[in-house]
Subunit: 373 residues, 2 copies
Amino acid sequence: MYMASFMHSSVALFPHLSPSSSTSSSLPPVSSMAGVRAPTHSFSVAAVGRPASQAVEIDATAPATSTAEAAAEFDFKGYMLGKAAAVNRALDLAVPLAYPERIHEAMRYSLLVGGKRVRPVLCIAACELVGGDEDQAMPSACAVEMIHTMSLIHDDLPCMDNDDFRRGQPACHRAYGEPVAVLAGDALLALAFSHLADPANYPPARPIPPYLLVRAVGELARCIGSEGLVAGQVVDLDSTGVTESIGLDLLEFIHIHKTAILLEASVVIGAIIGGGLDREVERLRQYARCIGLLFQVVDDILDLTKSSSELGKTAGKDLASDKTTYPKLLGLEKSRELAGDLLRDAKLHLQGFDSRKAAPLLHLANYIAYRQK
Amino acid sequence: MYMASFMHSSVALFPHLSPSSSTSSSLPPVSSMAGVRAPTHSFSVAAVGRPASQAVEIDATAPATSTAEAAAEFDFKGYMLGKAAAVNRALDLAVPLAYPERIHEAMRYSLLVGGKRVRPVLCIAACELVGGDEDQAMPSACAVEMIHTMSLIHDDLPCMDNDDFRRGQPACHRAYGEPVAVLAGDALLALAFSHLADPANYPPARPIPPYLLVRAVGELARCIGSEGLVAGQVVDLDSTGVTESIGLDLLEFIHIHKTAILLEASVVIGAIIGGGLDREVERLRQYARCIGLLFQVVDDILDLTKSSSELGKTAGKDLASDKTTYPKLLGLEKSRELAGDLLRDAKLHLQGFDSRKAAPLLHLANYIAYRQK
């Protein structure tokens, strides 16, 4: 468990969570800009737009100078916009409105509503970092988004979290009925694998060797199943109503499996498909584990510190539902320290890569840490 | 659509469905014999035990003499028992009782309850027919059974068919609750792919080339998704309560996708993994399509002609629920003719293979046609 190492390090407060940083930028949210097919769900890359030197000051000991320089020149907003638009086009093509129309409509309804496309962009960025290109990564990028969408559809079912809304519109089962929602999830799960494994989806001039596709399939499958996403959900279900017994280890298990593992798979599969060396793939896995847990820690902090209008969703839900969170177990300051540790460690795992090529992943880590909702 | 060719051929009545054939054997059901881990669900191979010459007499024009001779010497019952026992052992190992236990218990509960293991045995038999062996086929054999089980778990959910019992015991959601049932299905779906794609599951001395694993993954994924099992279920859902508008084409679409397609995938994946030539794989695909539809036609006939005690489940359910069936659309005699056509065509597609090696698939076709429940 890497929690141990995180907990013993000493890190400064998280500057992005202070009131000043949340108002320090006037950049528009990504979704308001041209080219992104995600009008219903906005996210701010404002904090990410600041110079990287400011981002890394939370830990002055991080040896990130060259990376920081390269990152400072990097147009992260443009990168995110371009990649998200390409992902949306590819997803649109991956699920044509074939017969039987109703199931394909339901799949498209949930898949194409938008969202940040963080997982596909991580996949593409990791692929590009190790020498692959966007076209090679795109089937995997679509596959991880299909899995993410499938998990949301099944999570929202009445027998699960019973959420009527998702990404600002009625949840799949509210729009198409429960049976179709169950089946749409199943179909997206299966489609992820057929899309990933179909040689026709790859650039003919730069096909992916089959042994790498097999590794990618294995990685994706493991991250979903009873030792992946499903494990996190089951333990979360079992923990509901017994919050007093949840310790840090169990909380970490839930979040690593419910959230972090698909971010990890996105990065690792991108690196595999891109032909990364084993040691590169493993370094990127470590990077991804850090940002995966970071994602959840920041979520917990935001729920406690932001208003509903700032978040674009109900704030304080965790407290109201007596859900165990990092701030509840560690306190707010220690949670910020943990987030700082995770961000610093994520960046350390990018050391040794070409700093220019690593800029997208560096900025993605900053984005996950510094997001305001 | 191959329905057209089936409907125009002239075939004698199906002898197995006459009263005499149903009482013509005293062989015990497979499940009562040693080695099979499926005590709760019995099936009779009595009819299959008869000489193949009798089986093929439903169409005297079929050029099946050499195949029939080889088949007559084949111990089908022993074959089924041996393969089913091996499959059960492999499935047991494939889902260890790891943490979190509850999800693994639920997966094992539904997966290991037994059943006929027709799909895994088809997979192994096809693999062996083209030159592969049981160990090479076993990961795929387990994968198709995982998919079959997953589809049953999700089918039984209250929002779907709302069945409280499956294979003689409470359905997964009755035993473990709806949320765990949804997740157990998802986990089995994912596990099918990780199990199939994991090189460690294959005999080290006879590994499967990665490009064949990629083809197998694609085949399995397509058979599940929105143009496979899910398509059949959605069209079936949409047809519920509008029986007057269901014609033969739609009925065939539903059954090909709900039932036949996984039998087809089982055979085709076995043939791919076994290193079958493209033309062998395609012949076996045609064979599998015939037995897949045959499986459903016989199901419909049995529901109409057998008592509940003979079937081991509620008879006449189709009539009571006003469900569209082959006998309802074609009449009983024409349905028997269709079944005869499908059996004959299935056997024709086995011509050209080594008759000794083709014996298991020939007998499996007979078994599907002649089963009494």
